[in-house]
């Protein structure tokens, strides 16, 4: 029983980080009707900004993280939207999807070329100790990850539902033409969406990199899992991405612990197939109709 609790807790902690990246997929889908296949690399890159801050600019960790966040917002949020999304969006989602794939390759190669192809140590953001509660070892890192992710996701939900800007962002996502008629600055709302995505990816990066290590290729698996989590949970719902991330995190751990370690990576894909077959809108997603 102690083992099961630990496995579930650890799965929830990892899953909550998947959820942060998965939410980015849903936000960008809603804002631009496209899929950002560089999302995994969006999580990989901020860690290297922090390492540059620490190792080359001599910054303390907290300042390097602020530096990393600022660079991420500028590059992964504003520049990504202005340089790539704006010119390509009018050509349809497909060309943008292909462009994000190219961006993913470019980001990996740049990190490999200008930083290192090797994994790098990365400082932990949260305490590393553990509590022993009647035989159940509770990792402070797991608990901290879980709390941080939940606070951020709840905060994001409140922001989207309760603030004027959040509601304008949702309006722009649901029907840009009507929102514009109603006076919403749609372009600005879309920009905000990309900035929020950059912030979420940066946070995911700060939390996952001490575990996975900083490496140019670390976004590959993470991007895939986050994409699957977003589909499983519901591609058009933030809470769906959260549910999908947590579900995959827990299922992955339970499978590897009790069933098979060899085929653990197949489980998210099996889940994806099951969802597509039986509930294509995702566990918490809403069915969407399209005029043809």
């Amino acid at each position: 029983m102690e083992q099961l609790i630990q496995v579930i807790l650890s799965g929830l902690a990892t899953g909550s980080i998947y959820a942060l990246a998965a939410i980015g997929f849903t936000l960008i889908w809603q804002a631009a009707q496209t899929v950002n296949f560089a999302q995994g690399e969006f999580v990989m890159l901020p860690a290297f900004f922090v390492l540059i801050g620490i190792n080359f600019l001599g910054m303390p960790l907290w300042l390097a993280m602020l530096f990393g966040l600022a660079l991420s917002v500028l590059i992964l949020g504003v520049a990504f939207k202005r340089i790539l999304v704006d010119p390509l969006l009018s050509h349809g989602g497909l060309s943008l999807i292909i462009a994000t794939m190219a961006v993913a390759i470019l980001m990996k190669e740049l990190v490999k070329e200008f930083y290192s192809a090797e994994a790098q140590p990365y400082p932990a953001l949260v305490p590393q100790g553990a509590w022993d509660l009647s035989g159940v070892i509770i990792s402070l890192q797991d608990i901290s990850h879980l709390i941080i992710c939940f606070v951020v996701i709840v905060g994001l939900t409140l922001f989207l539902d309760k603030t004027k800007v959040g509601r304008c962002m949702q309006a722009a996502a649901q029907n840009a033409a009507v929102a514009e008629i109603l006076g919403v600055n749609v372009k600005r709302m879309i920009l905000y969406t990309f900035v929020v995505n950059a912030v979420l990816a940066t946070l995911a990066s700060f939390l996952i990199t001490p575990v996975y290590l900083a490496k140019f290729s670390s976004g590959e698996y993470l991007g895939l899992i986050a994409f699957i989590a977003a589909i499983v949970g519901g591609f058009n719902q933030v809470r769906g991405a959260l549910a999908g991330g947590l579900l995959i995190g827990v299922l992955d751990n339970i499978t590897a612990t009790y069933i098979t370690a060899e085929y653990r990576q197949a489980i998210p894909l099996l889940l994806l197939i099951a969802v597509i077959l039986f509930k294509p809108e995702g566990i918490l997603g809403k069915p969407e109709g399209r005029a043809v």
């Binding site: 290192s116 553990a130 022993d132 575990v211 290590l213």
Partner: protein, 374 residues
Amino acid sequence: MFKQIAGASALMLAMASPVHAVDIAIVAELSGGGAPAGTQYRDGIMLAIEEINASGGILGEKIKVTQHDTQTDPQISKGLVTKAIDDGAYVIMGTVYSSSTIVNMFEAMNAGVPQIVGAEAPNITQKGNPYVFRTAYGAHRGVPSLTGYFRDNLKAKKVAVTWVNNEFGKGGHDVFVAEMKKAGINVIADIPSEAGAADFAADVSRLKSAGADAVFVYLHEEESARFLKEAKKQGLKTPLVGEVTLTGQKVIDLAGDAANGAVAHVGLTAQANVKSIQDFGKKFSAKYGHQTDHNGIKGYIGMWAVKYVTEMNGAFDQKKFADKMHGLCLDVNKHPNMLLTTCWDKDGELARESFMVEVQNGKQVVTTTVAAAK
């Protein structure tokens, strides 16, 4: 007429001389999961080449080196070995990963090009390839050195093994399980993981619940670091024992204090109480700004062996090179850049002293020296 004669003479001279006599190709894991090992191996080779060229080269010829990045992909490594052969490499240095070496070594063998590898899977030298030579113990020589440690030092009755499910890991795993059986120790948990695995939470959880007296960890460097961090996170108290990679410098750098207490048998370590190795470690650190691990030393001595053997033969003859290496012992007193006296048997398998080490306060500390295998 004069021009024609001069041109023909030049052509004949060019054909008669060994055009690529000292082309050395490094084919190694410079990116991807194997980069920690491959880049160290490359750096060790480059340091040796710099020294060899500064001292006049090999048989008076300077070494021209080309580097090829396998991206830790066996199929790419095969293509690059072919390219190196086509480019006229005298000797191919690498690969380090067994899963790549087992795929690419037959290209070199078919072309008759000697290959100095860092790979450790037992089957590398068991396929009748006369052109492949190790720079490190094969797992079938190294892992048995740990049996006594499990049986006598740890007094283990039941052990667990966690290993990477590829050519390298399977080789070490199979030898370990057979050794434990011979020693009367039960293997009660057997946990494979994929190369490049990032999340070891479930693996460590299984190890904790298994109740083993000790765990044998046979993973690559990056995975070893992630495993050690997770083991610390989950409070795993069982002794962690490995072969070579578990206590490598890169693992210590990546895992931080989570590496403390890990024990391993290593063929080479810069922390060995051997002056020549320590001097090499200082040279390496001064040049690259980071410490060498066993792979750096492997690359260095591999390259120096190429010089020594070629000069013994007095010619850049690849067949003679391979023939000479079989059954050869390079005495460190006569060949100081070998760092330790090193011998190769008829299969290209290597023998020399090795060490038991423990990570203490973020440093490898040699606890015992193990005599060369017979």
